[in-house]
């Protein structure tokens, strides 16, 4: 059952190339293209644009990571390079996302180790990499310069730029050839404004991925869904300042009450379900990259994306 749309769209989502292979000056096995949609997600046979990707999230300080994941994976979460390597080999994501949680620990002052962590993860893996750094303007300048330098040539996707603190992230992207996640707090106008600010500072549109900020299912997800839909329809109606691919990550999903307080025997199941049902609908709202933390979420999420992509929907089950 292929769905078709009645709308007469005039716009088109731009494409963004994630990661650089040796040919382009990086060390990834291949780069991946996202975006390019000319219609709403999963409409048409085959749907327009590129298929949504799954990013697996890991971090460099597991004290700030949800227990269902650290409990499931054990000691390996203390070594980001080993964790990343295992994720690439065993979990089957399309790309990896390193969250530098160390920079978000209270009292963080030494940005020097950031370089080594990024380099180690890049060396241990061959998938395109997303790196999220500090979220404090006081730290950003030093942290993002190091991330940018450590990943020079790899076409990293750097996050996250926000309206109040986008300069360092943009500077790292421009100086070292990376891409930027532009995050706004579930607000289409702010999303647009940030994209304009980034353009004005000199970052071209094909190096921006929009993060509309995703709330966990049952904890604001519907607002995110609605904003993603609106960003996408505005773009398809011709608003070029919103015509970038979107990334969706619901960082609070594994900390919600239903997962946190689940019966220990069912905690993993609950964690996977909560991530799956937050991220699969995000692709329906228009996300090109969805991020998960529990390794077991990747398989059912991929099945869901594939089924939608092939137009199977209900009857394919």
């Amino acid at each position: 059952m292929a769905l078709s749309t009645l709308a007469d769209w005039t716009g088109e989502i731009g494409t963004v190339v994630l990661g650089a292979s040796r040919k382009d000056g990086g060390t990834r096995t291949a780069s991946i293209v996202i975006g390019g949609e000319r219609d709403l997600p999963y409409i048409g046979n085959p749907p327009s644009g590129h298929k949504p990707l799954i990013a697996y999230e890991l971090c460099d300080d597991p004290s700030l990571w949800p227990a269902p994941v650290t409990g499931h994976l054990g000691d390996i979460t203390g070594d980001p390079a080993a964790w990343a390597k295992k994720a690439e080999q065993d979990f089957g994501p399309d790309l990896l996302k390193l969250v530098l949680t160390s920079t978000r620990v209270r009292g963080f002052t030494d940005p020097v180790p950031v370089s080594a962590t990024v380099e180690a993860v890049l060396q241990a893996t061959s998938l395109p990499l997303i790196v999220e750094g500090s979220i404090d303007p006081e730290l950003d300048s030093e942290v993002f310069r190091r991330i940018g330098e450590a990943g020079e040539g790899e076409r990293l996707l750097l996050g996250t730029a926000e309206a109040g603190r986008y300069r360092s992230v943009a500077a790292a992207a421009m100086a070292y050839g990376h891409l930027v996640i532009a995050q706004s707090p579930i607000d289409i106008n702010l999303a647009k404004q940030l994209n304009i600010l980034l353009r004005e500072i000199g970052l071209p549109h094909d190096r921006i991925v929009i993060d509309p900020y995703t709330g966990a299912l049952g904890y604001g997800f519907e607002y995110s869904y609605s904003v993603m839909e609106r960003i996408r329809t505005s773009a398809l109606k011709g608003d070029t300042d919103l015509a970038m691919p979107m990334i969706s990550s619901a960082p609070d999903t594994l900390s919600v009450k239903e997962v946190r307080e689940a019966d220990p025997a069912r905690m993993a199941e609950m964690a996977v379900a909560w991530e799956l049902y937050s991220m699969l609908p995000s692709t329906v709202a228009g996300a090109s990259v969805v991020c998960v933390r529990h390794p077991s979420t990747i398989r059912p999420l991929r099945e869901g994306i594939d089924a939608f992509w092939e137009g199977k929907g209900e009857e394919g089950r």
Partner: protein
């Protein structure tokens, strides 16, 4: 005096002949950009004397190309100058430098060349540059001068010693060329793009002291092609070189390139934050007060030409806090003078209004009302911590700069506290208030060709678009046309955008092609047409913030208005909150409109439906609030008797009561053209 123009002529001749004699092979290390200036201008990778000569001819003998080739050849022949001189700066270092520029941790680039009059003058200049977050490159004898003055140089001090001779200043240009290629997307060989990038984007200035050879003079003069102002701090005389005293060089240069240092800390002994805005200072906690009917007081914000305002200067004329008795009432004249390239006289009242917020931000200062009816207090606690009257000025000077960085370049504040001077200055202020009122009053929709939009509320009313005109403020009452224009100036990508009104489609309804076009786009295609002066046909959409709702009452052939504060029932059979739920959310609802209170007094109110004569009912509190101005408005239109004919809840709550009342009073709406 050295004539720059003469020096350039012979300098160029000398460059010509040296280029003729140039020989050998040369290149810089650790760069992908060959000889960057030449590469950026011509797209050619130059490594030999012949290639250098070709490039020189191809650029019509550009002195920058000559200088770069000669310096590169010399470096290749003799090696780099010893430390601390850096010579050519490798790409890797440059990337970090570019990062800092984009990141905002450095605001601009400065080249200082030649020999300053004294080591102290050199030190003072460089200290100022460091304080202003500029990255400074040094070429020539200034470097040894700094050494004599004990000033440390090096990249970590943001003072980069390029070389012992002013010719090393060419590295400043090769840095700009590479920044343009690395960050600005300038393709090598695209000289036009390079020049426009350098002019518009690169925040670079050149300060020149004596000691330049004729060749070096010609080379420095060529910087101007890249939009770099040449500030001459002595001896040089040339039309294009700007003469400055060493003390003014930095400020002049930064002003010319529009480089601004943002103010972050406010140097006063009390906290200053919106968190304190809602506090009050009671009589028993108050050390001194100004105005409030107890002493003459006023506030005034004036726009002055640039150069007449000294940024950060605060003057107190009259007694300071130490001269005042605790608990006394003191006169106050509060004058804020501002200057800025984008500042306009029309913005004065809107900025003046911010004095109220800013003074209330102070932990120990309090402010109410405006103009010549202000009332200001300073608390005992604040005075005990050292707050003086002067600090109100410092607070205002800093806050205005912080909140309006693109609008204001400099702010100075004068606080007058002796009665005679206050009363004298107040006379001028009152004249200015009157002029402003006249201008605002006089402003008609037909006087301007651009209105402003507001889409601030699209967060919850996704397709709502407010169109703000001089005679129709935003429906929330908080944003006038002038405010919209300022908001656009301050934040060009923000929620207030200019709306060219375009061709008139219907004068009575206030429908314009440009407005329709804008509304359609901003409403994501949902709203095709929008009339500014009609409630019946294509009325403006409503978010949820409207101060009042105006709606048609078909039974009486008129309109009623109800304000948000009114909780009771209305003749429409619905309360404000029920009505609000019906019309909000960005929908276009013929017969209903969200409006501001002030719009009731506008000539444009209900224009398409026959004007204010259609107004049959409003809550008594709203009528009282508007009473003076409403009476005046009605009198102007020869409708004085209408005031008493407009019913309130005191006379009629149901439609039946209202209909009976209107026919008894002979309300004009009853005999006007049928609305339906």
């Amino acid at each position: 005096m050295i004539s720059v123009d003469d020096a350039i002529v012979s300098g160029k001749r000398s460059l010509d002949s040296r280029m003729e004699q140039l020989s050998g092979v040369f290149s810089y290390e650790e760069t992908a950009y060959h000889l960057p200036v030449t590469y950026a201008l011509t797209g050619k990778a130059v490594h030999t004397a012949n290639e250098a000569r070709e490039a020189y001819q191809a650029t019509e003998r550009n002195p920058l190309v000559a200088c770069e080739c000669l310096v590169a050849a010399e470096t290749a022949a003799r090696g780099k100058e010893p430390a601390p001189y850096t010579g050519f700066i490798p790409d890797a270092v440059l990337r970090t430098l570019g990062y800092s520029l984009v990141d905002g941790s450095i605001l601009g680039l400065v080249l200082v060349s030649g020999k300053p009059p004294s080591p102290d003058a050199a030190a003072a200049l460089c200290r100022e540059l460091q304080e202003k977050y500029m990255l400074t490159f040094l070429s020539g004898e200034i470097i040894s001068s700094l050494g004599e003055a004990g000033v440390k140089v090096g990249a970590e001090y943001r003072l980069v010693p390029l070389g012992s001779r002013p010719s090393s200043g060419i590295h400043f240009i090769d840095i700009l060329a590479r920044v343009a290629m690395m960050f600005g997307g300038v393709t090598p060989g695209d000289a036009g793009r390079l020049l426009s990038y350098a002019k518009e984007r690169a925040k670079a200035i050149s300060i020149v002291f004596p000691g330049l050879s004729e060749e070096e003079t010609a080379v420095h003069d060529a910087f101007r092609l890249l939009g770099i102002p040449i500030l001459s701090a002595g001896e040089y005389e040339g039309e294009q070189w700007i003469r400055v005293s060493p003390a003014d060089a930095v400020k002049t240069g930064m002003d010319l390139k529009g480089i601004k240092v943002s103010v972050t800390a406010i140097p006063i002994p009390m906290a200053c934050s919106p968190a304190f805005e809602g506090k009050s200072i009671r009589k028993e906690d108050m050390y001194v007060e100004f105005g409030g009917g107890r002493s003459p007081a006023f506030e005034l914000l004036r726009c002055r030409p640039e150069g007449e305002v000294m940024d950060g200067m605060v003057r107190v004329i009259g007694p300071e806090i130490g001269d005042l008795k605790e608990g006394s009432a003191v006169p106050l004249g509060l004058i804020v003078e501002v200057a800025g390239k984008n500042m306009r006289r029309e913005y004065e009242p809107v900025l003046e209004r911010r004095i109220h917020n800013f003074i209330n931000y102070g932990e120990g200062s309090w402010h109410v009302a405006q103009r010549d009816i202000i009332w200001v207090r300073i608390s005992k606690e604040a005075v005990a911590r050292g707050v003086r009257i002067e600090h109100l000025g410092k607070l205002l000077a800093a806050k205005f700069r912080i909140d309006f960085p693109d609008l204001l370049d400099s702010v100075q504040v004068t606080l007058i506290t002796d009665e005679q001077n206050v009363v004298a200055a107040r006379k001028d202020a009152e004249r200015i208030y009157e002029e402003r009122d006249e201008r605002i009053r006089g402003m008609k929709d037909t006087d301007v060709d651009t209105y402003y939009s507001c889409t601030l509320c699209q967060t919850f009313a996704p397709n709502h678009v407010c169109i703000i005109t001089p005679e129709r403020p935003a429906l929330c009452g908080a944003i006038s046309w002038l405010d919209g224009r300022i908001a656009y100036e301050i934040s060009p990508a923000g929620a207030n955008q200019p709306v060219p009104k375009g061709k008139e489609i219907d004068a009575a309804r206030g429908e314009f092609e440009g407005v329709n076009r804008f509304v359609k786009k901003a409403s994501h295609g949902e709203v095709e047409r929008c009339s500014l002066y009609s409630i019946m046909e294509y009325p403006m959409t409503c978010c949820g913030c409207f101060e009042c709702i105006a709606l048609m009452l078909p039974e009486v052939n008129g309109f009623m208005v109800v304000n948000r504060e009114y909780k009771g029932e209305t003749p429409s059979g619905m309360s404000f909150s029920t009505l609000a739920g019906t019309i909000g959310g960005g929908a276009q609802t013929p017969g209903f409109a969200g409006i501001s209170k002030n719009f009731i007094l506008s000539d444009r109110f209900l224009q398409a439906e026959g004007g204010i004569s259609r107004l049959v009912w409003m809550p008594s509190a709203l009528k009282d609030e508007l009473s003076g101005r409403l009476r005046q408005k009605l009198a102007e239109r020869g409708l004085s008797s209408l005031y008493d004919q407009i019913a309130t809840e005191k006379e009629a709550v149901t439609i039946e009561e209202l209909a009976g009342l209107l026919s008894r009073t002979g309300h004009p709406a009853l005999t006007m053209k049928q609305l339906l």
